[in-house]
C-alpha cells in the first residue's frame, strides 16, 4: 500500500516565487538559458506571473498580452523560450529578461533593451555526448530541423530532411563522413551536404563546440 500524500501541485493555490523558479529553471537549462543573475529583478517578474496566475488562470508572460486566440496564447505561457528560440538566442535573453543565456555573466547589462542584433545567430543545440557516433541527432532550431553528426571530435550540422522524399537523415547510417538516408539510401557528405544526385545537396550550418556544448549557427529568421 502506498499511503504517501499526493504531492502538492506546483501551480495550486498559494504558489510561490520559489515554486515557479524550481519548476522552470531545470527546463530552461536544457535550452541553454538560466535565471537572470539580477535575482531581485527575476523574482519581480515571477511575482508578476503569480498575480497573472491568480487573475488569468495560468502563468502568462508578464510582458505580452493575451489576444484571446488560444493558438497565440499558448505561446506566451512561461517559459516560452522554445517558441522563440532563435529570437531569444539573438537577444541573449527572453523577452522579459527573466531568463538569460547561459553564457551571459551579468544580466544587468542587458536589462530592458528588446532588440535583435543583425546577422546570423549562434544557438546552443546539444551536448557532444548526446550525439552517438553511429547515428545522428535530430534537433529543432526554430522552424529548422537539423541533423547533428559526430566523428571523433568533429561535429557537423546539416538539414535533417533528405531531398529525395524527406527521410530523416539523423536516423541514417553513418560511415566515415557519409550518411546514408534510412529510407532509400541516398548518400550525403556530412561535411558539405553534397549528395551524388544532381541538384539535391542539403544545407549545412557552421558548428562550434565549447566545453562539450555544440552551438549551431543559423541565418537570422525572416519573420
Amino acid at each position: 500500500m502506498n499511503d504517501r500524500p499526493a504531492p502538492r501541485r506546483r501551480f495550486a493555490e498559494g504558489t510561490t516565487v520559489a515554486d515557479l523558479e524550481a519548476y522552470m529553471v531545470p527546463f530552461v537549462r536544457h535550452l541553454g538559458f538560466k535565471l537572470n543573475t539580477e535575482r531581485e529583478f527575476a523574482h519581480e517578474v515571477l511575482q508578476s506571473e503569480i498575480e497573472i496566475l491568480d487573475r488569468d488562470g495560468d502563468v502568462y508572460c508578464p510582458c505580452r498580452v493575451r489576444t484571446g486566440d488560444p493558438k497565440e496564447d499558448i505561446k506566451i505561457i512561461c517559459p516560452c523560450i522554445p517558441f522563440y528560440l532563435e529570437q531569444f538566442n539573438a537577444m541573449r535573453k527572453c523577452w522579459c529578461g527573466l531568463f538569460i543565456r547561459e553564457d551571459v555573466l551579468d544580466g544587468a547589462e542587458m536589462m530592458g533593451v528588446i532588440e535583435e542584433p543583425e546577422g546570423p545567430i549562434e544557438v546552443r543545440a546539444a551536448h557532444v555526448e548526446d550525439i552517438a557516433a553511429s547515428r545522428g541527432l535530430r534537433v529543432k532550431i526554430g522552424k529548422r530541423e537539423i541533423a547533428l553528426f559526430r566523428t571523433g571530435n568533429e561535429v557537423f550540422a546539416l538539414s535533417n530532411l533528405c531531398r529525395h522524399a524527406f527521410g530523416p537523415l539523423s536516423e541514417g547510417y553513418v560511415e566515415g563522413y557519409e550518411v546514408m538516408c534510412p529510407w532509400h539510401g541516398w548518400r550525403y557528405d556530412i561535411r558539405t551536404g553534397h549528395t551524388d544526385h544532381p541538384n539535391a545537396d542539403v544545407q549545412t550550418h557552421p558548428v562550434t563546440v565549447r566545453d562539450g556544448v555544440v552551438f549551431v549557427t543559423v541565418p537570422k529568421p525572416t519573420e
Binding site: 508578476s48 508578464p62 505580452r64 498580452v65 489576444t67 530592458g112 533593451v113 528588446i114 532588440e115
Partner: protein, 81 residues
C-alpha cells in the same frame, strides 16, 4: 511632442519605463492594455500591433519614433532628456 506609452500593469520593463519618464518629468499618455476590457482592449491590442508589429510591451511612441522595451538610451535620445 506627443508621448504615448502602451503598457501592461504586470510588466517589469513597463514599470521601469514609467518610473523613468516620471523622473525625467516627461508628460505622457498611458494605456494599460491588460486593465481594459472587451472592445476597448481589442482596439488597444490592434493599435499596438499596427504600431509595433507585435504584442510585446512596453511600446513607447514619441512623435514618429516607436520604441519597444525599456531602452533607456534610445528613450533619452528621442526625448532629448
Amino acid at each position: 511632442m506627443d508621448v504615448k506609452l502602451y503598457a501592461l500593469s504586470t510588466c517589469p520593463y513597463c514599470r521601469m519605463t514609467k518610473r523613468f519618464l516620471e523622473e525625467a518629468g516627461v508628460e505622457y499618455e498611458l494605456t494599460e492594455v491588460d486593465l481594459l476590457e472587451g472592445a476597448d482592449k481589442q482596439a488597444a491590442i490592434d493599435e499596438v500591433k499596427s504600431i509595433s508589429g507585435g504584442t510585446s510591451f512596453p511600446v513607447l511612441v514619441a512623435g514618429d519614433e516607436v520604441i519597444v522595451g525599456f531602452n533607456k538610451q534610445r528613450i533619452k535620445d528621442v526625448l532629448g532628456t
